[in-house]
């Protein structure tokens, strides 16, 4: 969706989270309830948050 608006070169999308942290977020757990290894494991299938960095191209 962002690539359609801003062009594919300027879009960088990163997925954060995994199924455990996603389930914990739904159940009201906080980041301190997980270990750093659990928080650092990124599973794109069960991403909790998507971070996008979008740069507008000069030509547009």
């Amino acid at each position: 969706m962002l690539a359609r608006e801003f062009g594919p070169q300027g879009v960088e999308v990163v997925s954060y989270g995994n199924s455990l942290t996603a389930a914990g977020e739904l159940r009201g757990l906080a980041a301190c309830d997980f270990t750093k290894a659990e928080l650092a494991f990124q599973d794109e299938r069960y991403g909790l948050l998507l971070g996008a960095r979008v740069v507008k191209s000069v030509s547009k």
């Binding site: 608006e5 914990g24 159940r27 009201g28 906080a30 301190c32 948050l49 971070g51 960095r53 507008k56």
Partner: protein, 210 residues
């Protein structure tokens, strides 16, 4: 003939052989043995695993009713990780919804004159007019926006997530999807500033009507 059922690294049939009645699944006696074995495994690990994590799969009530009640929410942890990774991009003209928490932290003002922040906005996001008393009033939702800029520049008032509803008794005339509003806002910010990238942080989209 015994049925060989794999249970982890152990063999179910070896651990719980079929009883004399010939029931391949082991019958009541085997089920009791299986339950005892499971309880023994549970009690062995009970002290090693935090109780909270064990309760993760039990019950329906959440552990906290609101965010920040137990501490930093997980999505904020990831958000801060992402913003810290791209902290170099957060400079110049920044737009942050609601409070200016992250722009202040990640891009502190280098000069007193550059630290000016304009709070563009606006109205109570959650208040909804009583349709019965004021049927003709239109409902407009606005989010608070923060624009950070160099002094002397003027910014337009940006309306994010504006939803207009028809008078009472009629359905919403037009309700745009939240992601459409977000894209529209980003596009307007980029179009206005016209140079480089605008950092848009801390967006929390609420569905219309809440």
């Amino acid at each position: 003939m015994k049925r060989h059922v794999s249970f982890g690294q152990h063999s179910y049939s070896r651990a719980f052989p079929a009883d004399e009645s010939g029931d391949e699944c082991g019958g009541e006696k085997t089920r009791e043995q299986f339950g005892r074995r499971i309880r023994a495994i549970y009690h062995r690990f009970e002290k090693q695993v935090p109780v909270l994590r064990l309760r993760l799969g039990v019950g329906t009530a959440p552990f906290a009713d609101s965010w920040f009640e137990r501490g930093l929410p997980v999505h904020r942890y990831y958000l801060e990780e992402f913003l810290t990774l791209h902290a170099a991009d957060i400079r110049g003209h920044c737009l942050e919804f609601q409070e200016d928490t992250y722009t202040s932290r990640l891009d502190p003002p280098r000069h007193p004159a550059q630290g000016q922040r304009q709070r563009i906005a606006t109205r109570d996001v959650h208040r909804r007019p009583d349709k019965a008393k004021r049927p003709a009033q239109r409902h407009v939702r606005l989010h608070r926006l923060h624009l950070r800029s160099a002094p002397g520049l003027r910014f337009p008032v940006l309306h994010f997530g504006a939803a207009s509803t028809a008078p009472a008794g009629r359905r919403a005339a037009r309700r745009r999807a939240p992601h459409h509003d977000l894209l529209s806002t980003i596009r307007r910010v980029l179009a206005f500033h016209g140079r480089g990238a605008a950092a848009c942080v801390g967006a929390r989209i609420r569905p219309a009507g809440r």
